[in-house]
Structures are given as structure tokens and as C-alpha cells.
């Protein structure tokens, strides 16, 4: 059988070529390169964010509804940046080889986790304690001490950021070693110390791959735990009568969608500004756009399975959720999310030419990210402005809570800070993981099958 396969010309970048292009780019990047310019711009935007946070802090924690938009931004960052590493973890666990060029792009979002953690801290003080003057409010912690949601919320968010950084660091040790050899000055010292004497012996590679697998699986479990805790304490518990078992899974599912979207958008910009067209190719975008299409369908599925139960049941708690989240003051936000996160991706990504392109998924991905931000605003602004937290049902639906200037600053600043953190991370670690590219080049080879063209992919495990 194997006789039909004959070798074919292989014009992919060779080992030396890819090594020099990916690693050296950091050292020889001329000052006029867009990266430095962008760093200055983004740090200015981050300053705006800091001003916004200061203004919000000055307003104090008494008025809970003021913190609605702030919680929405923290949830937005936690969801997109938190779920982005999943884009590389799941295919790696499933041993798919298409994902290797974008693994580093998705793992770099762990650096954005630092911004999420910093933004999260003031939010903990804004969350009302479980027991207030003797009355215990409803929560998933039942009889636990008064500050349990604050404690577990912090553990989950900081834990997620920590595991994300550990995953980023452990998967980029070989590249840090390469950077340490070629870079000069501060980058060399940092890269050298971080690469921890990695030489590349067989046992070190085996340990590295095992470490990535374990950290990846643990990250996935911890991500689901974080979404359950964060969504339950910071949204569901604050609205009287909101009894919605699917909301944590809806929160996790939409974050997977937006994590995918942010990885696609980041991969597009890295590909253009880093001139890495020969590494992140059409196959990666094609596979990710298929997943984007699937997660957009799942977005509607998770929403509809909650809505049909509320619409059909019409009990007190069902009516409360429909009034405040879907039909009530944030109806415009719901319609915008519905269009941006489901209708547009569905009717655009269902066509092969749109899916099988690089610009298509990027545009749809950015629309999904905006839809995601509006969705989080719809949920958290409504949850934080609902009164009568100890009533049996939502007696009175709050009016639409429009953002004040501090909120706008915080939103813009947070997104700017996230982009800044991502960009700074790519300054230290190459944006495309060199050792995965070379590993992929070793395993796959274009061949001719009789007269036709094909690819051979070795599956060592």
C-alpha cells in the first residue's frame, strides 16, 4: 500500500529560516516598528482607565448600582482573556496538529489575566456580604460565613490567572532559551533566568510536554469552577428570584466563544504586524472559524434552553428573569447581543467562502467581542441595579442604568490595558511558538499520492 506515496517538493520555511525569523525579530526590530508606537498609545489609554477606576473608587461602595458597568468589564476580561488559552488546550488534548502555530497566541492571553486580577480587587469590596444586619441573603454558599463569596471569588480569579501564567511560562521555556542565546541586554537576562537551564534533553522535552498537558487539563477544570463561582456570586445572587441553573454554563459557554474570537483577532494582527504570514496560515483560521460557527450556534442553544423554560413556566421567578434581563430595561442590549453574537455569525459563517478565509473570521470575531461586551453589560448592570435583594421575587424592575463618564473611562481603559499587556508579553516571548512550529514541520510532510497531492501527518502517540 505504501508504494503509492512518493515525495513532493517541500517549500515550507526550513528550521534555520523559521528560527531566525521568529526569534531574531525581537532583537533586530527597528525602532520605527509599529510595536513601540502602539505601546505608547496603549499606555495612554491605560492611564485613562486608571483615572476611571480612581473616579469609581471615589464614588465609594455605598451605591451598589454604580458598580454595574465595572463588574461587566471585569466579567468581560475574565471571560475573553480567561477562555482564550482554551483554544490551544482543547485541540492539544485532542492531539490536533492544526493548532500548533496559534497555541502561543492563545496562551499569551494569560498576560491579560494580570489586568483582570488588578481590576477585580476593588470589585470585591463592592460586593455586599452574605449576612447584612442579621439577614442572610440567598447564595450558592447557603450557610457559609459572611465573606465566603468574596474569598472564593478572589481564589478563583487569582487562581485562574496564576495557572494561565504558569501554562504560558512552561510552554515557552524552549523559546525563552532560544531568545536568551540571541538577545542582548535586559531581554537576555530575563529570558535566561526564565528558561531555567533548559537544554533540550529528551527527558526535559518529555517532562515539558507532560507539564503542558496537566496544566492544560487543570486550567480547563478551574475555568469552569471560576465561571460558576463568579457568575453565581456577582450576578445571579444579587437579583431576587433569579433561579437559573444554566446561567453559569451560559457564562462559561459565551466566554469560550469570545475567547475563540479574541484569539482569531489577535492572530490576525500578529500575522499582519509581525509579518508571520508563512506561519499562521489559512488552515488555522479555517479551523478556528469552524469552531467559531459551532460556538455561535451553542450561544443560541444555551440562551434558548433558558428562555423556553422561563417563557413556558411563568412562575414568579421566571417572570422576574424575563422582566429584568430580556424584556425589561435592557431590551436594546439584549437585541444587540442577539444580533452580534448569533444572527450575524450564523448567517455569515455558514458560507464556505467566508469561513475559508482570513478576513472573514476576524471581522465576525470582532463583532462577537462587541456583542459579548454588550451582553455582559446587560447582565451585570441589571444585576447590580436590582433592589430588594432579600425579597422572594423581583417586586420592582429597576430603570435602565446608563453609564456615567467614569464607567466609559473604565471600559476603554480596561481594553487598552489588556491590549498593552498582550503586546508587552509578545516583546519577551515570540508570538508564534518556535518549538511547536519545528515539531509540526518534523511530523508533517507534503507528498504525492500517485498523481494527486496530499499531506502525511505522523501520529507518534
Amino acid at each position: 500500500m505504501a508504494s503509492h506515496i512518493s515525495t513532493a517538493p517541500d517549500h515550507r520555511p526550513t528550521f534555520q529560516e523559521s528560527a531566525s525569523q521568529l526569534i531574531a525579530r525581537g532583537r533586530t526590530s527597528a525602532p520605527a516598528s509599529p510595536a513601540r508606537l502602539w505601546i505608547v498609545v496603549l499606555s495612554a489609554v491605560t492611564l485613562v482607565g486608571v483615572v476611571g477606576v480612581a473616579g469609581r473608587l471615589a464614588g465609594g461602595f455605598a451605591d451598589r448600582s454604580a458598580w454595574g458597568y465595572y463588574a461587566a468589564v471585569v466579567s468581560f476580561l475574565l471571560s475573553t482573556a480567561g477562555a482564550a488559552p482554551m483554544v490551544s488546550i482543547a485541540p492539544t488534548l485532542a492531539r490536533a496538529s492544526w493548532v500548533r502555530p496559534v497555541t502561543r497566541v492563545s496562551q499569551l492571553f494569560a498576560a491579560v489575566g494580570v489586568v483582570t486580577a488588578l481590576l477585580y480587587i476593588p470589585l470585591v469590596f463592592a460586593l455586599p456580604p452574605l449576612v447584612e444586619d442579621g439577614v442572610r441573603r440567598r447564595s450558592i454558599w447557603f450557610g457559609a460565613p459572611s465573606l465566603t463569596p468574596h474569598l472564593w471569588g478572589t481564589i478563583s480569579v487569582l487562581g485562574l490567572v496564576f495557572i494561565g501564567l504558569a501554562l504560558l511560562w512552561s510552554s515557552s521555556i524552549p523559546d525563552l532559551k532560544a531568545v536568551a542565546e540571541t538577545a542582548t541586554g535586559l531581554r537576555r537576562r530575563i529570558a535566561g533566568r526564565l528558561s531555567m537551564g533548559f537544554i533540550g534533553t529528551d527527558t526535559q522535552w518529555k517532562a515539558l510536554r507532560m507539564r503542558i498537558g496537566v496544566l492544560g487539563a487543570f486550567y480547563f477544570l478551574f475555568l469552569v469552577f471560576t465561571h460558576i463561582v463568579f457568575s453565581a456570586d456577582f450576578a445571579v445572587a444579587l437579583v431576587a428570584g433569579w433561579k437559573d441553573a444554566i446561567f453559569p454554563m451560559y457564562h462559561a459557554m459565551t466566554s469560550l466563544q469570545s475567547g475563540l474570537a479574541s484569539t482569531i483577532v489577535a492572530a490576525y494582527f500578529i500575522r499582519r504586524f509581525g509579518r508571520l504570514e508563512r506561519y499562521i496560515e489559512l488552515d488555522q483560521f479555517w479551523a478556528m472559524s469552524k469552531l467559531l460557527f459551532a460556538t455561535s450556534l451553542l450561544w443560541f442553544y444555551f440562551f434558548f434552553s433558558a428562555f423556553i423554560v422561563f417563557w413556558y413556566g411563568r412562575t414568579g421567578s421566571d417572570q422576574a428573569v424575563i422582566d429584568i434581563l430580556i424584556g425589561g430595561p435592557y431590551r436594546w442590549a439584549f437585541i444587540a447581543t442577539f444580533l452580534l453574537s448569533f444572527v450575524i455569525p450564523l448567517f455569515s459563517l455558514m458560507w464556505n467562502p467566508v469561513r475559508h478565509s482570513i478576513k472573514g473570521p476576524t471581522i465576525i470575531g470582532s463583532l462577537i467581542l462587541t456583542g459579548m461586551l454588550i451582553d455582559r453589560i446587560r447582565i451585570y448592570a441589571a444585576a447590580w441595579s436590582a433592589e430588594g435583594i432579600n425579597d422572594r421575587y423581583l417586586r420592582f424592575v429597576p430603570a435602565t442604568h446608563w453609564p456615567d463618564p467614569w464607567d466609559v473611562f473604565v471600559i476603554v481603559g480596561a481594553i487598552g490595558a489588556a491590549a498593552l499587556a498582550f503586546l508587552l508579553a509578545t516583546r519577551l516571548v515570540p508570538a508564534v511558538s518556535l518549538w511547536e512550529i519545528q515539531y509540526m514541520r518534523l511530523l508533517t510532510r507534503p507528498v504525492r499520492f500517485l498523481k494527486g497531492h496530499a499531506f502525511i501527518i505522523a501520529k507518534p502517540d
Binding site: 423556553i308 417563557w311 464556505n352 499520492f449 500517485l450 497531492h453
Partner: protein
């Protein structure tokens, strides 16, 4: 001039590929040759003409057909017999969405299968084109349909490529 179709049977796929090269060299057009195998080889493995198919039109039309059918069924029955149940509106959209979705997908699948059978020109039980049992046992069959006068030349090319057997109809 009546058209004849000649079948050349080859032991291995490589022999089949060489036979096709010989035919193309002899000036036979791509669409006149047909390669028959027992297993799905990758596209263009024999250098044969990769046929374009318009399969994606069928599910699109089927989905549209299913959607309208379901719209008639759901809205039609609810309006034809407007009974209030459980305080729900007469045209209960969320309930209709489910039936609309199911009928759309049902007809999309049915039309796709009809499309597959139609696109692969399948229900041709009474064709005269030659066929050999051993094709499904791993052998490769190359069928060429050509004019009467060129039949001898085509048979010579097939035999030169090492045909196990030549049949014509």
C-alpha cells in the same frame, strides 16, 4: 458513428495511473475516461478529471422548503383553531421556533440525500457500460468511451499499460 465503451482491468493502482497517462497522451479527453476503484482514493490520485458537483444547492433549497412547510403547519394550525391554552398567545413564537427548526433540518437532510444520489448519477440500473466483479476486490477499472474507429487504438494503449483483461460493450 456508434460510441463504444472499453473497460481495462488493472492489478494495481499504479498500473491504472499509467494507463490514464497513456490515454491522455493518446489524445483521449479527460471527461471520456472513468476510473473505477474499490476504495476512495484522494482526489486526482489517478490524474483523472476531478468532477465539479453542485451538491450545496440541495440542502439550501430543502431548508427553505422545510421552513415554509413548518410555517404553514404551525401558524396555520394555531390560527385555524385559535384556542387559548395556559395564557400563552395564539401565535406562540418560541414553540413555533422549535417546529420550524426541526422541519427545516429534516428537509435539508432529505434534499441532501436526494442531491447525493442525483449528483452521483446513481439510479442507472440498466446501463450498458462494462463492469467487473473484481473491481470491488482491489483491482482498478479504466473505462473509455470513444468512437468506433478509435476503439482499436484505445485497446492497444490499455493493453500496453498492462491491462489484465479488456472488455467492451
Amino acid at each position: 458513428m456508434a460510441r463504444k465503451s472499453i473497460l481495462g482491468l488493472y492489478e494495481t493502482p499504479d498500473a491504472g495511473a499509467n494507463a490514464l497517462d497513456g490515454l491522455h497522451a493518446a489524445g483521449v479527453e479527460a471527461h471520456e475516461t472513468e476510473v473505477m476503484t474499490g476504495t476512495p482514493y484522494p482526489e486526482g490520485a489517478f490524474g483523472e478529471h476531478v468532477p465539479q458537483h453542485r451538491l450545496f444547492r440541495f440542502p439550501a433549497f430543502g431548508a427553505l422548503f422545510g421552513f415554509t412547510l413548518a410555517l404553514l403547519y404551525t401558524a396555520g394550525t394555531q390560527l385555524a383553531w385559535p384556542l387559548v391554552t395556559g395564557g400563552k398567545p395564539i401565535l406562540a413564537v418560541p414553540a413555533m421556533l422549535i417546529i420550524l427548526y426541526e422541519f427545516t433540518m429534516l428537509n435539508a437532510v432529505i434534499f441532501t440525500v436526494v442531491g447525493i444520489i442525483f449528483e452521483s448519477r446513481l439510479p442507472n440500473l440498466f446501463t450498458k457500460a462494462p463492469y467487473d466483479r473484481r473491481i470491488s476486490e482491489g483491482m482498478v477499472g479504466v473505462v473509455v468511451s470513444c468512437e468506433e474507429n478509435r476503439a482499436a487504438e484505445v485497446e492497444a494503449v490499455l493493453r500496453r499499460a498492462g491491462a489484465l483483461e479488456i472488455k467492451s460493450a
